[in-house]
Symmetry: C2
Subunit: 411 residues, 2 copies
């Protein structure tokens, strides 16, 4: 029996509220979404109220007005951000509100704008967003990121299709990758999480000192912090609520040491950052820091991104995803980190997640830094996995054990 | 030459930015709008950036999710409001941001919901909004209220028309009442403001002690505070920016004394408050306080509204509008205060505007109260003017002078 789009959208909304956020009675929910996601937001809102949410507030973003700023705004605009709004969001999280982010913005929206202005605007926004982001990166409350097939995003993924067909095809891929099209999506996520948990249990038992990557254009060693914790799938936030921060999610991830990354690595998928496409990235690390970077397209945007601050050139996350993951198997390049990062092993420059260090949530910023956690206004994932990548886990005694071979789990 | 809808919408947006808000370079702008107003918001945003706004942020509201809360939300929901968001807005105004409110919500949205829940939700919202409202009622920054013809609002105004015709007819009325359909709307507002200014100059020179209303079901005396100031049309906010807080606006208004209102008054138009229609209102004042109230429909909602707090039963504004005003002449009952209050003389229960008392902006809350200003979480206008109302201005020596006869200026 084929489900209608409305049924699938509703199942996806219910999955988001139950498995993604796991809204608890009495909790507020703050949603951010592109304005085209209004139908999805309405369904999520209904399910959230039915689950006992006291108030659902949606902050809509509109690509057209984002663009208007670059077309007509004065120069001072690009160092300005809505600090008042982000401080409000931080207050909501502090008071225990759950958080849903719906992605779907045009990945190439700002591609033809002045990269200097784009970079300034992104930096101002990151800085203003910091008070709110800290509650998210510190996992203080249950949160989740999902997506919505907007016209512009769909067009960028399927440029040869007509608008309607592109949207339809993207929705089909979203529902499928999110397991929302299964008979019982919530139960499917229980099982999926158990599988990811078995993988993190294995990795946590091995306690590797570092990971070694080898493949075309890649020869990289990533040191892991002492007491690193592999995470993946459902996980309890500090408020005790077990949630799935990403739907879909195929990754297991942990904390690299900010000073112990060395070698070269080549990205295997394009990256969309702040409305600009960056493709053909290749960088060299020394002592944890990117000391050389190249990109075939968007090199300027990439250079500006890692120059956001001191921590922008160092890693905050390392994640392993088998090449045969359902998202990778779809063969689609989504131009959207939520999907692409779950299609391939990846690394992220910028802010660490304290939950990926044992006891990290209780440490001061100084102690976190001393133990190798990275701090930055940004957290940007980029893909380095493919069917040609081998990964070894290196034990503290220096012995290397095969972890992945040709992109698949070997252990 | 007939202008297209797109041209008129653009002229209306430009009028809003220039005459309504008078955005100054370097200022942020915070817009609140129904989600159906996205086209109008985009045009306002473009014009605001062109005028030098550094950042335009729109907070969209969606009637469907408002309704979802009443359909599915838990009981605790109705004492909850997005305090974090309103505190954020207050921070924006404190930092000098301009404010645009676009109205257009369904005036009967919550008509079939439990009045007790509606009242609790309105009260919680008013209380949470207070920190932001104080910057508006204190005229700290330039602000403006305009409107957008949404499907549900249009349907309530023209219930016998098809959806498309109703929206078209409502837009035509909005453009016409707002003077946006004239050749040079900005210049038209300069002239219109000069006319309102001549009227306020006259009234300010008269220094009446009170106003006396007589008409069907109405025999009311409204004392004015000492040092009251008549306002109307363009006016400077405390930040020095001259703006038109309402488009359209046909009223001149001032501050009644919270303790000096006596007699009976019958409303001449229905009132939509917090999603409920209230019709056939009739009340009795004694010593400034409503001591008896009736309504043919929505009596419960009206009673709950004035019971919001101590100041909810007392007046915060009195406004005079000739019966022949263009809005009244349109013959349309708009079910929207922005229009209906500018079609007829009206009074408002609740919060006073400090700008309508000489030196009021500089007074402490205690001094304001001692001089007769009213304080409340609410400020709700309702219409008491018609073609059958006479108004006298009563001098401090007790002599009454004819001010309006049969709803028209007599002086």
């Amino acid at each position: 029996m084929l489900k209608s789009h409305a049924d699938l959208l509703d199942a996806y909304a219910l999955l988001t509220v139950r498995s993604g956020l796991n809204i608890t009675p009495g909790q507020q929910l703050v949603i951010s979404a592109p304005i085209e996601a209004v139908d999805l937001v309405r369904r999520v809102t209904l399910h959230a109220y039915a689950a006992g949410a006291t108030l659902v507030t949606t902050l809509y973003a509109d690509d057209e007005t984002t663009l208007a700023r670059f077309q007509k705004g004065p120069d001072a605009s690009f160092d300005t951000a809505a600090s008042w709004l982000f401080e409000g969001m931080a207050a909501a999280f502090k008071a225990g509100s759950a958080r849903l982010a719906i992605t779907g913005e045009d990945p190439g929206l700002l591609g033809s704008q002045d990269p200097e202005k784009v970079s300034r605007a992104n930096r101002a926004r990151s800085k203003a967003y910091r008070p709110a982001l800290e509650y998210i990166s510190g996992f203080a409350v249950n949160w989740c990121v999902i997506s919505c097939a907007t016209p512009s995003w769909a067009k960028s993924v399927f440029p040869k299709l007509g608008q309607e067909d592109a949207i339809k095809k993207l929705w089909t891929a979203i529902f499928s990758c999110s397991r929302a099209d299964l008979a019982d999506p919530v139960q499917a996520w229980v099982e999926h999480s158990a599988n990811l948990r078995a993988r993190t249990d294995f990795l946590n038992a091995r306690r590797y000192s570092s990971l070694k990557y080898r493949g075309p254009g890649t020869d990289l060693t990533i040191g892991l912090v002492d007491g690193h914790v592999w995470k993946g799938g459902a996980s309890p936030a500090k408020n005790g609520v077990i949630c799935n921060p990403n739907i879909p999610s195929e990754e297991v991830f942990t904390m690299p040491h900010r000073d112990r990354v060395d070698g070269i690595v080549r990205a295997t998928k394009p990256l969309s950052y702040g409305g600009t496409f960056i493709d053909g990235i290749s960088v060299r690390f020394e002592g944890g820091k990117i000391i050389e970077s190249h990109a075939a397209n968007g090199a300027d945007a990439f250079a500006k991104m890692i120059d956001t601050d001191e921590g922008g050139r160092r890693l905050g996350e390392v994640a392993l995803v088998p090449h045969s993951s359902p998202i990778s198997a779809s063969g689609i390049v989504f131009n959207n980190t939520l999907f692409d990062e779950n299609a391939a092993s990846h690394i992220a420059v910028g802010q660490s997640y304290t939950e990926t260090m044992s006891g990290g949530n209780a440490l001061t910023p100084e102690d976190l830094a001393a133990r190798g956690a990275n701090k930055s206004l940004i957290h940007v994932d980029w893909m380095i996995g493919s069917g040609e990548i081998d990964v070894d886990g290196v034990r503290s005694d220096g012995v290397a054990e095969p972890l992945m071979r040709k992109g698949e789990w070997a252990a």
